[in-house]
Point group: C2
Chain length 351, copies 2
């Protein structure tokens, strides 16, 4: 396999939907909401209404999007007939309630990860989705919004490393404690590190293992350096095994130092029969400002390239299509649910 | 902290012992014996006698060391009075027997890892060592013979990353199946991947965690791509927690592709309160022929350098001193034993 064969691209360029796709927003608590809305807008959707009880969060959002209509209550937002979807990055513990109300009001939902924080919430959301025919789309951003992560899946599907055996996923994050809201430190609000962040990693494991069914074989959480916040985990990890035998390890922490000049040295290593893939998502330590670096190591050599700007992120366009057509182009319903289920089970096992 | 403060060296230069230190060799089954003998000789020891029943292995060794006296039996070797130490890289399952006979003959032992493959062998070796006053030195080479690994310990001791929280150790290896002897594929001879190779990684975990006591919290072995050898593991991993709360993950595999131009992309990541250390021991994929690359990431920046040739490996000189003076400069007796004990427990748990 040559370098050109490894790094061949078919970049996703969004095409706007023929009929306008309107969406509303509620819950600006996590900054991810900006990426979620920008992604949908870039895919051709139109953001028209918002409800946000926190005035400071609302004002900041309105500075960026001044032409959006502000509703006085969630009910008022959900009553806006033309909205097909509600986007939310509310406090994690509150997301299931918003999802359920939105679905019952006839709206699809695009929620930040974690989509919920307990198995009871998960079961209720599943039931309401089934009853209403409305879908839950989850912003597992460390895959759906990261070009190297998406490209790795394409490499696996193209057989570049053969059959996959094992997957390591590392998600260090920078804490910036002074910038965090009160709920950030409270486990009843976040679910804990393996849910709040880890759902990302469990999702990636399912994506790369090519199955939606896996078992958490071990997990841990710890609070090493932030003991003044007893409801906070600054470390978590887990091992898991997929039903096809592929093994995985995920590690999440809040220990990234400022010197790396990004929020975290996120990495993925995927071992296969014919070689391995390594992703250095946000930085390549020791090199200046390079993102989405992909390494492919096979018998033929080591091939490396930054794939930033070369792959595109089809998730947002696919959310629009899936909402309209009932397809599962964005992500299978089962995968979206099973990723958070694994995360909740891992956090529970670790406590 | 500046770059100069991070990368400050105090290179170990061996000084030969005042009184000659003679050692003998038996068991050339693993190629590590060459590194072990060269290390001792470089530290000033004198290799004078050998017993090796396999003529082909012996002949190859004698080409490199033609002036060594060949004994006809292990008993003859062990009867050579001036030998203070026996070096062995016999088949792993046979090592404990050689260690016990050597100690009973009044010799210290320098054995390749794994020093033994069962808990029964471990207990017997411990008892004989205690009864004879003779020491077991283990060639956990991925630490004791790797300058970046040794340097990382110095960085931790100097407080460069503050209190340690978590340690990841990756040891991919290249299989080269055609070059392997029959015993390589038989679990009763090797103990399995977490023992045969993994004892290295458990040793490093103890070294970096600064304690000799840890618990294996989960472990797995698998044979993904070599099912024609049912007694072989081509994958193993484990999580462990030290008695001081430091967590670890070790992953070992036989999946390294030829394209990386070395036997394995061995890496270590050590997370601490003030930053993290990453070691790329044998290669830095995407770069040509660089070894022992150390990255130190703190709030002050990312500092990186290859430390090859700058640190030295004091292990061999310290074996000579410890043999003579009963010190524990090379490695504590407890650490040498506990590393293999963890490895055996992890392999047993995984089966």
């Amino acid at each position: 396999m040559t370098r050109e064969e490894v790094f061949s691209y078919n970049k996703h360029i969004p095409t706007p939907p023929e009929k306008p796709f309107y969406f509303g927003v509620t819950g600006l608590n996590h900054g991810h909401i900006y990426g979620m809305c920008a992604g949908l807008i870039n895919a051709g959707a139109k953001m028209t209404h918002i409800y946000e009880p926190d005035k400071a969060l609302l004002d900041t959002f309105l500075k960026k999007y001044p032409n959006i209509t502000v509703c006085d209550s969630l009910e008022e937002l959900l009553a806006v007939e033309e909205l097909e979807l509600i986007a939310t990055a509310a406090i994690p513990g509150d997301r299931a309630g918003i999802e359920i109300k939105s679905m019952r009001a006839g709206k699809h939902v695009f929620t930040d990860k974690a989509p919920m924080i307990t198995l009871e919430q998960l079961e209720e959301v599943k039931a309401v989705s089934l009853a209403t025919g409305k879908r839950l789309f989850v912003y597992y951003s460390e895959f759906v919004a990261v070009e190297s992560a998406i490209f790795a899946k394409q490499l696996i599907d193209r057989g570049v490393i053969g059959k996959v055996a094992h997957i390591d996923i590392f998600a260090p994050h920078r804490l910036n404690p002074d910038s965090r809201p009160d709920w950030f430190w409270v486990r009843e609000k976040t679910g804990g590190i393996l849910i709040d962040i880890g759902s990302h990693q469990f999702h990636q494991f399912l994506e790369y293992s090519g199955t939606n069914n896996a078992t958490v074989t071990s997990s841990r959480v710890a609070n090493y350096f932030n003991k003044q916040y007893p409801g906070f985990d600054d470390f978590g990890d887990a091992t898991l095994t997929a039903d096809n035998g592929i093994t995985g390890y995920v590690r999440i922490d809040w220990m990234s130092p400022a010197g790396i000049q990004t929020w975290g040295d996120g990495k993925v290593v995927i071992l296969g029969e014919k070689g391995y893939i390594e992703l250095r998502k946000n930085c390549d330590i020791g090199k200046e400002k390079v993102t989405n670096t992909v390494f492919v190591c096979t018998d033929d050599g080591v091939f490396t390239e930054s794939v930033s700007g070369k792959v595109g992120c089809p998730y947002y366009s696919n959310i629009i299509k899936d909402s309209r057509e009932g397809t599962e182009l964005s992500m299978s319903v089962e995968q979206a649910y099973n990723a958070i289920e694994l995360a909740i089970k891992a956090q529970t096992l670790a406590m």
